[in-house]
Amino acid sequence: MSQKTFGQALNDALTIAMEIDENVFIAGEGVGVSIHQDPNMATHGLLKKFGRKRVKDTPVSEAAIAGLAVGASCMGLRPVVEIMFFPFITLASDMLVNHAGKLGYMSGGKSSFPLTVRVKAGVGFGAGSQHSHNLESWIAHSPGLKIVWPATPEDAKGLLLTAIFDPDPVIVVEDMMLYRMSGEVPAGDIRTPLGKARMVTSGTDCTIVAYGVALYTVMKAFKPLSEQGISCEVIDLRSLVPLDKACILDSVRKTGRLVVVHEANRFCGFGAELAAMVAEEAFEALKGPVKRVGAPQIPVPTAPTHEKIFKPGPEDVVLAVRETMKK
């Protein structure tokens, strides 16, 4: 156990994966030599450690980066490729959606694609909507792809290691706002299972589900809610596909209420799936309406004043919980 930042924990995972399996290589724009000299970058120092054969800087070619991952994984390698910012995954999406996600099925199970795509996400650094746009629902909607979203340094390491050695294509979303966050990280090869949510706090009145940096927005709302006498059960989803349905349903059956919080647009966001799932499978347990906290249906704005409107804050979480408690 030692203190590491989120970025260092990712770096630790990549290092361990490359040490234990010669078939692991990493590729992407600036994964070897980066314009950033930041030890909190996930790929920092890997070129020096593992050399140019296994740490591949690529041209600015997202389709080729993803194609590299699909083709190489089908040949038995374990590629870990980076798509620099989440919105750029649109350029790679044919390779991921139509190939990584479908060719295993269409081969009748003869082919597999043990690839990992790391993608940086996040709102709040003023770069606007072409560098910030959380597209997890697109991925979750596409069969054959898994998607995980760590919120702590420990899970960053554990989920990335599990993703790399999972036999299926996994997209690992890294919230940029968390790279410098520190936490306890166990040493060695740790694996966080996919499809297992983490119970952050136990409560009796309302279940709140979040993932990634949105978890901390929830935690900022936790205190004012407690002070108002509302006991919340907070769940860190960690993995969207596969989804830990049992954890959410069990919690909602206990509390009778659900609030989902994410930074993506609310409309057709991942929260809609969770709301629908609870309505279908735990309707009898509900004591109030399921509430979703997310962004309005606008591109991620650039000005700090606009970003504030876009990004859900703790006050939005408090409001949503109070609304579902009204009934």
């Binding site: 041209p59 070619s61 040949m75 038995g76 390698l77 044919d94 390779m95 060719l103 003869k110 349905k245």
Partner: protein, 328 residues
């Protein structure tokens, strides 16, 4: 090792492969005219047999093939089992992919026909990944990807060629230029007349060949495959041929000049080669008939095999999405 000169034994194999492909696809044409016999789109390479046969015959089994929607010739030339191939095209459970691929997404990883993509232009980046794996593992094999002149308009093809050029990957790009992308002629979708000239921009050799001359295709393929295998990097080969049956069997080719079709019909690669082998005394008429008859017999047996198998059971619809499916 592949013969580096054309000998009678090779000539007979080239002819046999082409006629088998033709008979196989002619049978698909016939069956697709019967209602519900051949579900899905049937997209054939009738008239382009010399490209598939010529190139695949110049490969070793360790070489990887990435194919596209016009894949039957590539698979047959590689020696794929006719029965399970036909059953798959008929979408039956004894098909090579259990009835989950159909005619468009056939793959036979056991024979290194690793993937087929019908997303036009998607093959080259996939192939680049496969070739990277070969370079990474220091394997002897190279990768060959087949794509069309239509696909050459996709940005993904540029990305793959550029990266293959930068990393000097063992990858042979084969453009089967059949003059058409959908209902658009080459000059309507391709700014320059020849695709192979693009090779210069990626620092790789590029050459074109008469795609209806199987020996010319074989010879050039041997040369470029050897180049890729030697570690010098990728190469681009353009085979000039013609799409005889339209984009797919639903295409009535109302936009095609019948005179042009007749010209290319006269350049049928199989007919030309048959004549050459007769003229050169490699085969006589009776031997040709035996080979043709044998191809027909094998194809008929494959259809019978397909007829004897069933559509995949409903329980298999939900499998193979993940290797390690969610437990819930």
């Amino acid at each position: 090792m592949k013969e580096n000169q054309i000998v009678p034994d090779l000539q007979i194999r080239l002819y046999t492969s082409m006629i088998l492909t033709r008979k196989f696809e002619e049978k698909i044409v016939a069956l697709s005219q019967e209602p519900y016999r051949m579900p899905g789109m049937q997209i054939l390479a009738n008239g382009q047999e010399a490209v598939a046969t010529g190139i695949v015959s110049a490969l070793e089994l360790e070489d990887v093939i990435i194919s596209n929607h016009r894949s039957h010739g590539h698979l047959l030339a590689r020696g794929a089992d006719l029965n399970s191939l036909m059953a798959e095209i008929m979408v039956k459970d004894k098909g090579v992919n259990g009835g989950k691929a159909g005619t468009l997404h056939l793959s036979v990883p056991d024979l290194n026909v690793l993937m087929t993509s019908t997303v036009v232009g998607a093959g080259p980046p996939l192939a680049m990944g496969a070739a990277f794996a070969q370079q990474y593992k220091r394997a002897k094999g190279i990768t060959v990807v087949f794509f069309g002149d239509g696909a050459a308009a996709e940005g993904s093809v540029h990305e793959a060629m550029n990266l293959a050029g930068v990393w000097k990957l063992p990858l042979l790009f084969v453009c089967e230029n059949n003059c058409w992308a959908g209902a658009q002629r080459s000059e309507e979708h391709c700014a320059a007349q020849h695709i192979f000239q693009r090779a210069k921009g990626y620092d790789m050799p590029g050459q074109s060949v008469d795609g209806n001359d199987v020996e010319a295709v074989y010879n050039l393929a041997l040369e470029l495959v050897e180049y890729c295998r030697s570690g010098k990097g990728p190469a681009l080969m353009e085979a000039l041929t013609y799409r005889m049956r339209g984009h797919g069997e639903q295409d009535q080719q109302h936009y095609v000049d019948p005179g042009e079709l007749a010209i290319w019909e006269a350049k049928c690669p199989i007919r030309l080669y048959r004549q050459k082998l007769l003229n050169d005394g490699v085969l006589n008429q009776a031997q040709i008939q035996t080979i043709d008859q044998d191809a027909e017999t094998r194809v008929s047996a494959a259809v019978a095999f397909g007829d004897d198998s069933s559509y995949p059971g409903p329980e298999t619809a939900l499998t193979d999405v993940f290797v390690q499916p969610p437990s819930a």
